[in-house]
């Protein structure tokens, strides 16, 4: 009976008013890296291409390190309601930015390796980079992204489960720590490729 009434009335969204604003901000920042990559390729500027790759890769790595080493400790020290308040703001703000940084860093890396004649799929170092990238992408699309969307969906429910939101946020932050380890490994591979 109560369920039928709920369906008839429709569930009420509990999404905070700032969510859409933060999502728009995230998209406005997230669209910049691929657009600058287009500019680098159209202008045939290897310097700009290198810059796009380094800044997107570096920012992606820095974000993972920050989330894994700093935010994880902050979130652990907070009560569940405070974690939920952070999740409400952190999820929409990073929603487009992180996948855009990751995708642009990887795509520009392919162009750069080709430009420098290092994109040899039989090279152990290129294969190692490919494996690490696959792990990072699988984690990103397989865990980070679905968790972020699930947080949104939970927030849009009439009765959001704060425990679930907190759990998903902590899971993403912990995953960022493991991503940070792979980021450190891939930077080692990149440093080798740049010198040899």
């Amino acid at each position: 009976m109560a369920q039928a009434q709920g369906q008839a009335q429709g569930a009420t969204s509990t999404l905070p008013p700032f969510t859409k604003k933060l999502l728009r901000w995230s998209f406005a920042i997230g669209i910049v890296p691929p657009v600058v990559l287009v500019v680098a390729l159209v202008s045939k500027s290897v310097l700009l291409l290198d810059y796009v790759h380094v800044i997107t890769g570096g920012t992606w790595t820095g974000f993972d390190l920050y989330m894994g080493l700093v935010m994880s400790q902050i979130l652990r020290s907070l009560e569940v309601p405070a974690r939920v308040e952070i999740a409400k703001r952190l999820t929409p703000t990073t929603f487009f930015i992180i996948p855009s940084l990751a995708s642009t860093a990887i795509t520009s890396g392919i162009y750069l390796a080709q430009d420098f004649g290092k994109f040899d799929l039989h090279s152990v170092w290129i294969m190692a980079a490919g494996v690490v990238v696959l792990i990072l992408v699988a984690q990103g699309f397989g865990v980070f992204l679905p968790n972020g969307v699930r947080i949104f969906l939970e927030l849009a429910k009439a009765k959001p489960d704060p425990g679930l939101i907190s759990k998903l946020t902590i899971r993403n932050v912990r995953l960022a720590a493991s991503q940070a380890v792979f980021q450190v490994i891939i930077i080692l591979i990149m440093a080798h490729l740049a010198i040899y």
């Binding site: 429709g10 569930a11 691929p34 390729l41 929603f95 995708s103 162009y111 992408v137 699930r150």
Partner: protein, 68 residues
């Protein structure tokens, strides 16, 4: 002279394919929640806009494979 960069296009299509797969599963889950009256339609609407935003980013990246 520009030509198609297959390696880059394969990478972008793989990203977009993985994204569509994940979004498809989440959309189905969200649509069921709306049908049960647990989730407001706003949740599904945000999911649609999020998909449009991601597709825009990947479309720009896909364009780059024709520019190198």
């Amino acid at each position: 002279m520009t030509s198609l960069n297959t390696d880059a296009l394969v990478a972008v299509v793989a990203f977009a394919g993985a994204l569509l797969l994940v979004f498809g599963l989440l959309y189905r889950m969200a649509a069921r929640s709306v049908a049960r009256g647990e989730l407001s339609p706003e949740g599904v609407m945000i999911l649609r806009w999020a998909l449009v935003g991601y597709l825009a980013i990947f479309a720009v990246l896909a364009v780059t494979s024709f520019l190198s």
